[in-house]
Subunit: 372 residues, 2 copies
Amino acid sequence: MGVPQNLCTSCGKPLFARYDLKEAARTLTPQSLTTRGKSLWRYREVLPVRKDEDIVTLGEGWTPMLHVPRLGAKLGMERLYIKDESQNPTQSFKARGMTGAVSMAKQYGLKKLAVPSAGNAAGALAAYAARAGIEAHIFMPADTPQANIIECRETGAHVTLINGLITDCGMEVAKRKAAEGWFDVSTLKEPFRVEGKKTLGYELAEQLDWKLPDAVLYPTGGGTGLIGMWKAFDEMQQMGWIGSERPRLYTIQASGCAPIVRAFEEGKRFADEFPNAATKASGLRVPKAIGDFLMLDALRASGGGVVAVPDEEMIQAVRELGSAEGIFAAPEGAACYAALKHLRAQNVIRADEQAVIFNTGAGVKYLECFHD
Amino acid sequence: MGVPQNLCTSCGKPLFARYDLKEAARTLTPQSLTTRGKSLWRYREVLPVRKDEDIVTLGEGWTPMLHVPRLGAKLGMERLYIKDESQNPTQSFKARGMTGAVSMAKQYGLKKLAVPSAGNAAGALAAYAARAGIEAHIFMPADTPQANIIECRETGAHVTLINGLITDCGMEVAKRKAAEGWFDVSTLKEPFRVEGKKTLGYELAEQLDWKLPDAVLYPTGGGTGLIGMWKAFDEMQQMGWIGSERPRLYTIQASGCAPIVRAFEEGKRFADEFPNAATKASGLRVPKAIGDFLMLDALRASGGGVVAVPDEEMIQAVRELGSAEGIFAAPEGAACYAALKHLRAQNVIRADEQAVIFNTGAGVKYLECFHD
């Protein structure tokens, strides 16, 4: 952790932080957690950042794991849960990654960060950069939800709108960053967003009394949360907190942008760029992800699978989920419920199994999807 | 707590729940709290609801108390804090009141609830009612932010828009409730929203290590949070957790709707209805509050005061606060920062004092305030 790094300079693939887990497990124990604070920094020993004073926090993490019996009953399930990530700072799971990346940027003394974003990552970077006194340069598609554009401006970021997709925004950052002196915090192109995101896996275990569920439904754009959880399971096993059991992981994407679904079904390890990507679920509008092989490996190793959901189904699922349980989910989160209906119809997930849906953000940030 | 009640049937004033605090203090202690869950129901013994299974929860409360040194430095203050209520379900402090009111409605077996709302209370009632399987009938001014209207619909509520103010909405509920079989959960016209809101006071003490701050800046519409905190301080004193010291309470309102500010300055115990109420801070657009005398009594007893803030100042304060600390505050929350500038300029709050601003909701729910 001596100097800032992006991808591996020899293979061009993502870098991962490693910890002395034997040492970590001396102080970080399930018992020790019962009296720790409620942010994701409760898992301090397995997170980066040398000195506590470099931690840039807005109180992220430790979001509720809500039992949703009314929604479950629609599918004959008694043990359905929603992990409600909308209760993070900036109302999405992206806060987890950015507290990691921006804290490390502060440790390194970086002054200018840049990111391409499909929406919520932008809002999170803007917020954490402001909190740290660091400049944020943000590149988003011009048709990103207004909420994301406005939240970035109101937290002092420099916002550039691009006529294109997140991949085009990424190219713009790549092209300009050297001249501008920006450090690129694109997900998995820097090693610490995934460290923040992996706490989803720690919380999944802790909030279910250290017994992982049978199935996890995860809306997948860049896939950092999925990859991070998979890493967390491994770390927890090494610390002796869980055994070798894993939940079956299901990647949920939009029919209009489903590169991982397609690659999984075609038996490929790397995903082709998805052509003409289009979906109202802005977080799923990621036609090409650098961590594709990491996701595909994890999905297969877990015995899980994939589902692509049409936009109409996911928007309808927002209201079904909201009316049943009072959670106004992001379209990405609701897509998981829509997908679960298919998986139940095929009995791929059984009625007696325990399943967890990740609602990655607040529906209220996607007003464009709901105007009459 | 045997039957549902609204106002006192003899005097027409609000009713308050009372507890056997000696009994409560046997199990509820500062020490006991260190291992309790992170929702406001951690204060179980001083909250209503007989049986745990009637609690209707989405994980509300225990929001972060954030030290904001960068914002404080602008005013020469080292000990400025923001209590960030945007991290509640439905992104506002209204979740606290509604978990109380809807849980009690469930206990009573009520099937239909109605509320007039300036915005965020509507979203919260819709969510908690859906979670409980209870009908929600919501009356809002037609020019309420779109986010509030949409969140209610997407969580299954029946929404009626009224050309008027929250007071007009309240009259509509009053007129129709008997025929429709609705129970009115207008704030302070039922006794349990204030019980949920009072947990703000418990958290204020607990998060500051049981030493209340010198000053509290609270954006005041109906004033339930202020009244609830004042009640909480009294309960905590009776349980021996704090002494007789109290923070100075400052009510912050919008210049376009400042009935409590006006009454305070005129030395009145009851506030006249504010004529032609108008402000972009929808939560402050409350021209007449039934708890006016309770607020005014508390403000005076605490040695605090009042500030009215013009809309331009509060909207500018949103960006100042957001850029300094990464919190995209609701206009109501940012109004407190704008007010603090005035109070510092007059040295009413001193540089060495500890002050807490309540950011009551998420700025992202007020997009209309920020369009270019």
